[in-house]
């Protein structure tokens, strides 16, 4: 066991990091691990394949609903699955102890192990944040051969992000939606999008029942106006209150973020959000390597897993670097204004102080930091 000052259990599996005693990962000092016998019989890939096959088998091809409802399970399969999951654990140990497996496989196993047992990002110190980010970058490099840059930049003092949306300027072009999908590496198969642009009839007010958020005709359409919704980064966010594992929280600069590695996918937050701001990954998110945005942030656009929540982060990877979110930059009409609410000279403050602004469902007390205004 390596460092004692860590907040969670960690096992040093990597042979490159020299250990003082001649223990292997399983902790025995002599006689070797039991799992050595397994690794001599099969290659690592074969072993992993067999173990995964035994544990989840045909479910690999199934998804969400099917997986839950179409599981035949007798006593024998139950035992088989239990044994298999134990074997997977043992496999990680065996890989690291094995003499035949390559340096890279060992490193991968070490990274997977440390990632598996790391703590909640919210509680991490800056070194720990850097550690996990470095591991994720290295892991991506080992798996794809491509290099990404990932930031763990914290919230800055004297910054509170806010957004304003001009409903008389939005023309419904949806350039913001496209820019958002590309910037944030959203799943292409399920066509996930954080932003929704609602086409509403003039004179009917904000009537979401009659609004269309998936139109396809020349815009702006006669007699209609357009308004966009996304995560409003509430100052009193109900989604944060309901999370049973504290995988989502409000950062000091006002961004409501998610630790994708801590999320258990219960979707309480999705139900709690009054603005439909949150999205769930029903399948494994996939982005073609050529379209991948390699400029990432741990809390932002890094690749998500199947079964976790995600949402707009005001492009944390951009906004914390001083840039505008991708939607603001892409909007050809200038309907989107972004800035620092604590800077008395910022444009967002001018909008709040000089235009007639309002927010959605203000009476709920969620205090969204997303204001609508008109010319």
């Amino acid at each position: 066991m390596s460092n004692n000052n860590k907040k969670w259990f960690s096992l040093n599996l990597n042979s490159r990091k020299k250990q003082t005693s001649s223990t292997c990962g399983c902790g025995k000092t002599s006689g070797g691990c039991n799992s050595h016998t397994v690794s001599t019989q099969m290659s690592d890939e074969e072993f992993l394949e067999a173990a995964v096959d035994a544990s989840i088998g045909e479910e690999r091809k199934k998804d969400g609903f099917d997986q839950v409802f179409e599981v035949k399970m007798d006593r024998r399969t139950a035992f088989k699955q239990l044994t298999a999951s134990l074997l997977i654990g043992a496999g990680a140990v065996s890989t690291s102890c094995s003499v035949v497996s390559g340096e890279e496989t060992k490193e991968k196993a070490q990274i997977d192990w440390e990632e598996q047992f790391k703590g909640n990002y919210k509680l991490m110190s800056d070194e720990e944040k850097k550690g996990t980010v470095d591991r994720l970058v290295r892991s991506y490099q080992l798996r794809t051969g491509k290099t990404i840059s990932m930031s763990s930049k914290n919230a800055e003092e004297d910054v509170l992000f806010g957004y304003a949306f001009n409903i008389s300027k939005c023309q419904g072009y949806m350039d913001c939606v496209s820019a958002c999908v590309e910037e944030n590496n959203q799943d292409r198969n399920s066509q996930m999008q954080y932003i929704r642009i609602h086409e509403m009839k003039d004179g009917k007010g904000f009537n979401f029942n009659e609004a269309d958020d998936n139109y396809y005709h020349e815009v702006p359409a006669e007699g209609h106006f357009y308004m966009g919704t996304q995560c409003f980064h509430c100052d009193n966010p109900p989604c944060v209150d309901v999370c049973p594992v504290q995988a989502t929280w409000r950062e000091d600069d006002g961004l409501v973020v998610i630790d994708y590695d801590w999320c258990v996918g219960c979707r309480y937050c999705m139900a709690a959000c009054p603005y439909d701001g949150r999205r769930f990954n029903w399948s494994k998110p996939e982005v073609p390597e050529a379209e991948m945005n390699h400029n990432q942030h741990y809390l932002g656009n890094r690749m998500r897993k199947k079964g976790v929540m995600e949402k707009c982060t005001f492009c944390v990877q951009r906004s914390r670097a001083g840039k505008n979110p991708a939607c603001v930059e892409a909007c050809p009409t200038g309907a989107r204004v972004f800035g620092n609410l604590l800077d008395p000279n910022s444009t967002i403050r001018w909008v709040l102080e000089n235009k007639k602004v309002f927010r959605l469902k203000e009476d709920l007390g969620t205090e969204p930091k997303f204001w609508y205004y008109m010319d």
Binding site: E156, E157, D158, V159, L160, F161, G162, A164, N166, K169, Q171, G172, Y173, M174, D175, S178, V181, N189, S190, Q191, Q193, N214, Y215, Y216, H217, E218, V219, P220, D235, N236, R318, S319, G322, K323, N324, C331, P332, T333, G334, V337, F338, G339, N340, L341, L342, D343, P344, N345, S346, T347, I348, R349, W350, V351, L352, N354, K355, E367, K369, D375
Partner: protein, 209 residues
């Protein structure tokens, strides 16, 4: 009986104390987010990030209007055939002959109506290198917003504050804004209709099931 009242008094006292402490809860320090913004921005010290690295080598000029000063992109360097006098060496009526090559053939004014505007509302045939105000004063091409703001006063107010138009770079200071002609073609300022950038076929599938 006396003991009982004592107990009640103690319980009430505790409740009052609890209530006082719960109101001191840090999360509810402010009544609303606007109160919080107002209070916390009183000792604003600036930020460490800057927009400047994201200007993409756009040449900027600083302008100052009613106490608001910010950057706008340089215009003269962007006009394809500036300075105008490089071609307009003679008076306009001498250049309108048939044997000269036609320039500006693609410009048609779709801006207000013929009673309000024509070429000479903004251009001065005697001084081609500059624009001209309604009263005949000279306006530099780099300050073309002054020309627009003669009529579009409301838009000008909003643009100065930041409610109209687009920011260049990022939210961080220094502030740089696009000027009128960076988005609007001055000869045909209205935005055209177009098709949306995307259509979500998956949503259609999900909602029809």
């Amino acid at each position: 009986m006396n003991k009982r009242t004592n107990y009640i008094q103690i319980i009430i006292g505790l409740c009052v104390l609890l209530f006082m402490f719960s109101c001191k809860n840090e999360e509810h320090e402010y009544h609303s987010v606007t109160d919080k913004i107002e209070a916390e921005s009183k000792n604003y010290h600036g930020v460490s990030v800057s927009s400047e690295p994201y200007f993409d080598n756009i040449e900027m000029i600083e302008i100052s209007e009613d106490g608001q000063s910010f950057l706008i992109p340089d215009r003269k360097g962007q006009i394809r055939s500036y300075a105008c006098t490089e071609c307009h060496s003679k008076p306009l009526n001498q250049m309108q002959s048939r044997d000269l090559k036609k320039a500006h053939w693609d410009i048609s004014v779709v801006h207000a109506d013929v009673n309000t505007m024509n070429c000479v509302t903004c251009h001065n045939p005697e001084n081609m290198d500059n624009l001209k105000s309604l009263t005949g004063n000279t306006i530099d091409f780099n300050a073309s917003y002054k020309l627009c703001s003669q009529c579009h006063t409301k838009q000008f107010q909003d643009w100065k504050g930041g409610a109209h138009g687009k920011q260049i770079g990022g939210w961080a200071p220094p502030r740089a804004s696009m000027t009128c002609v960076n988005c609007h073609n001055p000869h045909k300022p209205a935005f055209e209709t177009k098709w949306p950038a995307r259509f979500n076929t998956q949503t259609i599938k999900e909602r029809n099931n």
